[in-house]
């Protein structure tokens, strides 16, 4: 709570003064508090600016994400110990695994975006075990394969479901489900 960096920290309560659609036109968002901290510690991340709520977003390469996550969790400044959710996002060309992490002590959150490398992303379960079901869900609905996940099975859909329903190009053409058509 009493970190000196707390002053210019983005807070959830205030709406972001500048809407984020302006950010892409600029030459690239400045790294925020966490981005700078990571850069100081030799972990280069891709700053993506704050989102509409003011939470800092960083883009991380798949091979670095475990280190970044470990740093964020173990650092006494960040103390990011609470994984809120893992969301798969389909950008048509590629898929992305988005981690929203919160710190119970400093009340700040961060968003880590990992572009899936051919649908492969390292699992963050060793860092945040809470990722277990969330990653299974993202695998289930987007087909993102989390390497290192001990038990990567379908979670919400039936085990014999064909395809990944939340992908943009998903088409439900399972011949077994013709009865379901209206």
């Amino acid at each position: 709570m009493s970190e000196p960096t707390n002053e210019n920290a983005p807070e959830n309560k205030e709406p972001a003064p500048n809407p984020p659609q302006e950010t892409p036109e600029e030459k690239g968002p400045e790294p925020g508090e966490f981005g700078k901290l990571l850069a100081e510690n030799g972990l280069t991340v891709d700053p993506l600016g704050p989102d509409a709520v003011g939470v800092e977003m960083i883009g991380v390469a798949p091979d670095k994400v475990l280190d970044v996550a470990k740093f964020l969790r173990d650092s006494q400044i960040t103390k990011m110990d609470f994984l809120m959710s893992v969301s798969g996002v389909d950008h048509k060309e590629y898929r992305e695994s988005v981690y929203h992490v919160y710190s119970v002590d400093t009340h700040k959150s961060i968003c880590i975006k990992v572009k899936a490398d051919n649908d492969h992303v390292p699992s963050l379960m060793p860092v945040w075990p809470a990722a277990d079901w969330h990653e299974r869900e993202a695998f289930d609905l987007f087909g993102i394969i989390y390497d290192g996940h001990p038990d990567l099975r379908r979670l919400l859909m039936p085990v014999d479901w064909i395809g990944y329903p939340l992908r943009k190009d998903y088409k439900q053409d399972d011949p077994r489900l013709v009865w379901n058509e209206r």
Binding site: M84, H100, Y102, D151
Partner: protein
Amino acid sequence: MTATDVTTPQIQIPGVSVEQDTDTEDLVVNIGPQHPSTHGVLRLITTLNGEVVKEMEAVIGYLHRSKEKMAEGVSYFQYQPTIDRVEYLSSFYDHYAYVTAVEKIAGLKVPKRVEYIRMITMELNRITSHLLWFGTFLLDLGATSPFFYAFRDREEIFKIFEDITGARMMYNYYRFGGLNNDITPGWLDKVRYFCDWFPDRLDEYEAIVNKNPIVMDRTIGLGLIDRELCMKYGVTGPNIRAAGVPMDLRKTNPYCCYDEIEFDVPVGERGDVYDRYIVRMKEMRESLRIIRQAIDKIPGGDAAEVEKLRQAVAAKEEAAKAKAKETGEKPEPVPPINPDFEFKGQKINLMTYKPPAGEAYTTVESPRGLLGCYMISDGTPKAARVKWRGASFSNLAALPELMIGQLYPDLMAIFGSLDVIMPEVDR
């Protein structure tokens, strides 16, 4: 995860060991998907040794209605009614998360009055949700009457909701930057009356349950959740507060107008089932406290008064226009009523409304814990992605570990105390 992965020390009951010496066969019981106390359709594959749980695996997805996929197929406003069904016991919270996500992305300004009404409705909704939990939890323990009492009092709140939203559970009340409709005249008095009436009922509940030796026997020391376990599974809400962690977004990351309100965050000491019960009962009282303050502080006050102001402004405008017509000059600008008193901020066309491109992750402290809505907007009338982070989803993930080594009847106490609701898990 499978139960074999669990490496934490198993919780032992004195006198009962998981590994029995005798040569017995394990009994695999499929609890659910249809079972009276799974609160929906949850399947728990439980391996029992006698009545001691050896392994448990939760199978979910029986209530999966593809709410996230639906968001990508319909417009922002069209999606709103279906949010009610994401978590139907406290759907104001889902609405709030969704609506604020859109508001943040679009930078819409929300009038103060709206925020206060949202706060009152959300806190009332927290009471209904906790009441339902109270009833079903005690029904799981075997007591029947509290269930009916809880439903009786829930009904009172439903009547209050019905007055302003027209619905009892599927409210569809919040709008981007405002509300569907202003509150009705006299509604605040009804809420105030409820706030005065309800504590007596809470006292009755506590007289029936709090010190009942059977309840204490069945709940104290059971299903211990500590901070590490909460972090391990992402357990939130009263469950983490019962473990002594004062994690309450209303306090730590105030949204709405919670920073203008005085309230306490009840925390437990041991993190057992009993503590979770106590924390929820205390939270109901805190909610009443919040509502009382909010009623006093709401800008504009009762709807009838705001209506009077509105009419006065309209009359002035009319008079100015008439005067202008007479004199042939431009009408004098009439000072509008305080924008904080309005129930709608910016006027928007809901049918074609689209926020600009952007993304937001809004979090709300729902009765079950941290509820998150991750929204990506790509500037089209349909959302690119809406992800719901249900509190129950993560809370349920902790159940298999909690149950290892416990007695089968304790399953109902522990599962009930987590306050899991299946539509939020499966979405």
